[in-house]
Each structure stands twice: as structure tokens, then as C-alpha cells.
């Protein structure tokens, strides 16, 4: 049962770590389309 709990907790930890890790690679969709990236010239 400990391993089962470890699996569940690991899934949640991965979920929590995913956004900052993806952001490191510039893979955040929020980052990609934010207004600063729009050039009006």
C-alpha cells in the first residue's frame, strides 16, 4: 500500500513541477502568447 501511495503522490508532485519546468524550456503557452511578444511596428 505504501508503494500505491508513493505512486499517487509522485503523480501529484510531477503535476506541481510541470509548469515551472516547462517554463524553463519556453513551453508555457501563457508565456508564448503574452502581449509583450506582439510587435506593433
Amino acid at each position: 500500500m505504501k508503494v500505491m501511495l508513493a505512486g499517487f503522490i509522485a503523480a501529484l508532485v510531477i503535476a506541481a513541477l510541470a509548469p515551472p519546468v516547462l517554463n524553463q524550456f519556453g513551453w508555457s503557452s501563457a508565456e508564448q502568447y503574452k502581449s509583450e511578444s506582439v510587435r506593433l511596428d
Partner: protein
């Protein structure tokens, strides 16, 4: 490849996702009275959801050769009128430019969205939800008819290691994330229809936002679990002649036979390959939804299907249509997986005595193992006799 089987699968899918009414064509309309513009018959045909040939509008985008001279009265807009320009926008044929950065920003109108919404809110929810409920009802009936599968003669009292800790970790990483994905996915798909009327918009909003966050991010755990379990178990899941004998004997689920099996029996192999194949498909379509317009795959897939089956699926799709198809496909595959996994959960818990321990603490009763995986027990005992680990 079994083309008949593939054709049947595509036909079944097409039947599932298409509204029979759509297959009917509207009768040809005489538009001379409106100078070629749409008529009341066109509008009424669309209201009846009949297939209307829109080429009289989509192809009517003006002609530069018809442009009056620049010196003419009121000048000229060129060969197209304002109505022509709006039609070009409407049918995504306008030569648009935009300051907005990002993929598909120059698509101003894409009316596939309504078909997608109707499909998503209609058949996908209806058939998908019915399949899940149907499986639960079927298993409940089966449980009361067949009863729990007991260890014949009772447990031996001694145990044997069925799965190592790393195998169980991979399984529960995959299972835990799948359950979270299934619940949050169902909430995202059906919440508007079923939860908002009960709990209201205010209560549903944080639930939906939380579900979206969890669904998007726990997907990585699911993909990691998929890779882990594939690497650990693929060698044990290669189909062989033994599987056919197991299936012919009903796997012992129907009847009281105990057909021979190695580490995984045919039923478990079916679950394994279902999870792997559909898991890859649901992951890939999920990635295409996570990173919009980055993984456009349906036009290419349709081209391959057309070349094999001679079908006439569209091979030119707007970026938004790719996303809409990705969303529908993601839902359909997820529903099939959920139905299969509900059956898997049943047999691994209440359906069979001694089965849960295999993934619970990794130790199973020797008698249970002999009855369900006799050849595996022999292999393990032979290895232990030689001083090797299982």
C-alpha cells in the same frame, strides 16, 4: 493488415460521430431570382440541417477582371465588392494580415466550431457517458450472477512475490494519474451540462479551473507511467499460442476452468495493449491540445487513410479544425480507455479473491498464483531453485 476489420472500425467511428441528418443533401435551388445570392430555400434547408452546397457563396468572391476603371464614378474597390470581401472572410479565403502573433491568427471565421460543439455536447457526451454507465451496470449484473471468483480450495497461506516495488510504483503512477485525468476530463466535458444546473456557475468555476490545471499537468505523470510500464512489461505481453487457449477457455472468468498462463494471461495482455495503444493516442492528441496548433496531425492522417481505403476524408483543414478534431478524438479514445479500465478495476478488486494483493503489497497467495498463472509460478520456482531472483 485486415482491411475488412479496419474498414469496419472506421465505419463504426464514422457512424458514431456523424449525425444521420447530415448525410442528406438539400435539393438543388434555382437562385436566378436573387441574382445568384442565397434564397429562402437555402436558409430553410440549413435550418433543417440539410447539406447545402455553399459553393454559390464560397466561390463568389469577385473577379479583378470585372473592376471598373479607376477614373469611373465613385472610384473602385477593385474587382470585388464589400459583400465579396465579407464572403472571403467568411470562407477563410481572404488574404488577411494581422499584427497578432501566434499560429492561426489570420483565420477570422471558422464555422467548423458549431459542428464541433454540437458533436461534443451531443453524441460524445451521450454515447461516452452511456458506455461508462453501461459497463458499470454490466459488471454489477455479472457480479451478482457469477459472484466473486474465489481461490478454489482456499488460500495456501504462503505467498509469492508477484510484482516488485518498481513495477507497482509504475502501475500506480499510471493508475493514479489516469483516474485523476478521467475524473477531471469528465468534469470538463460534462460539467456544463450536469453540474452547473445543480451547483451553479459560482461553485462550478473554481472546480473547472482546478480540473483544467490538474488535467493539463498530471498528464505528464500519466505519460511517464505509460513509458515505465511499457518498458517493464512489454516482454511479458507478447501474444503467443497459449493466449488463444486461455481465451477459448473463457479465461476462467466464465466457467470454472483454470487455463494455463505465464506472468500475464490473454486478458491482461488485452488490457496492456489497449492501455499502451490508446494511451499513446490519447497522449499525442492531449499534447496537441496542450500546445495549440503545434501538432497538426489529422490532415496527414486522413491523407493516409484515403490512400489505403480510397475514402474521401478532407486533407485540407483549417488549424482550428485540427484542434477540434483533436479534442473529439481525445474524448473518444479516453472513453474507450475508461470503459476498459473500469472492467480492469473490477477484476482486480471485488471481482476476484486475492487479485488486489498483487498490486497492493506485491505478494500473492501461492494457490491463487497456481490457479491463474501456473506457468509463471513454475518459472519463478525454477529460478529460485537456481538461486536467481524473480
Amino acid at each position: 493488415m485486415n482491411f475488412k476489420l479496419l474498414g469496419a472500425a472506421v465505419f463504426a467511428l464514422a457512424t458514431l460521430i456523424s449525425n444521420p441528418v447530415w448525410a442528406q443533401d438539400a435539393q438543388s435551388v434555382d437562385r436566378s431570382a436573387t441574382g445568384g445570392a442565397q434564397t429562402l430555400e437555402d436558409i430553410m434547408a440549413r435550418q433543417k440541417q440539410l447539406e447545402v452546397d455553399d459553393s454559390f457563396r464560397s466561390e463568389n468572391l469577385g473577379n479583378p477582371a470585372d473592376a471598373p476603371p479607376i477614373s469611373g464614378p465613385l472610384g473602385t474597390q477593385g474587382g470585388s465588392s464589400v459583400a465579396d470581401d465579407y464572403r472571403a472572410i467568411r470562407y477563410n479565403k481572404a488574404d488577411a494580415s494581422t499584427q497578432v502573433r501566434g499560429p492561426a491568427a489570420d483565420v477570422m471565421i471558422q464555422d467548423g466550431g458549431m459542428s464541433w460543439l454540437k458533436l461534443r455536447e451531443g453524441p460524445v457526451i451521450t454515447y461516452g457517458g452511456s458506455a461508462i454507465l453501461g459497463m458499470i451496470i454490466l459488471l454489477t449484473i455479472f457480479y451478482f450472477v457469477r459472484g466473486k471468483m474465489r481461490i478454489e480450495g482456499g488460500p495456501a497461506g504462503t505467498t509469492i512475490e508477484r510484482f516488485k516495488a518498481i513495477e507497482r510504483f509504475g502501475h500506480w503512477l499510471l493508475a493514479g494519474s489516469f483516474i485523476a485525468l478521467a475524473l477531471t476530463g469528465l468534469l470538463t466535458l460534462m460539467g456544463r451540462s450536469f453540474l452547473i444546473p445543480i451547483i451553479g456557475h459560482e461553485a462550478f468555476s473554481p472546480l473547472a479551473i482546478g480540473s483544467k490545471w490538474l488535467h493539463n499537468n498530471i498528464a505528464w505523470a500519466f505519460m511517464l507511467g505509460l513509458v515505465l510500464t511499457f518498458v517493464m512489461w512489454v516482454a511479458h505481453n507478447i501474444p503467443n499460442k497459449l493466449d488463444w487457449q486461455w481465451l477459448k477457455a473463457g479465461g476462467g472468468i466464465v466457467g470454472n476452468a483454470h487455463p494455463s498462463a505465464k506472468k500475464f494471461n490473454a486478458g491482461q495482455k488485452i488490457v496492456f495493449w489497449t492501455v499502451m495503444i490508446l494511451g499513446v493516442s490519447v497522449s499525442w492528441s492531449g499534447l496537441s491540445l496542450l500546445f495549440p496548433f503545434e501538432f497538426l496531425m489529422f490532415a496527414d492522417t486522413f491523407a493516409i487513410i484515403n490512400s489505403i481505403l480510397g475514402t474521401d476524408l478532407p486533407t485540407v483543414l483549417a488549424p482550428h479544425e485540427e484542434m477540434q478534431l483533436g479534442n473529439i478524438w481525445h474524448s473518444i479514445v479516453a472513453f474507450v480507455m475508461m470503459v476498459a479500465i473500469i472492467a480492469h478495476i473490477y477484476i482486480g478488486s471485488v471481482g476476484m479473491e486475492g487479485a488486489f494483493e498483487a498490486m497492493g503489497n506485491g505478494q500473492v497467495d501461492v494457490e491463487w498464483a497456481r490457479q491463474h498463472h501456473d506457468l509463471w509460478v513454475e518459472e519463478v520456482q525454477a529460478k529460485q531453485g537456481k538461486g536467481e531472483s524473480s
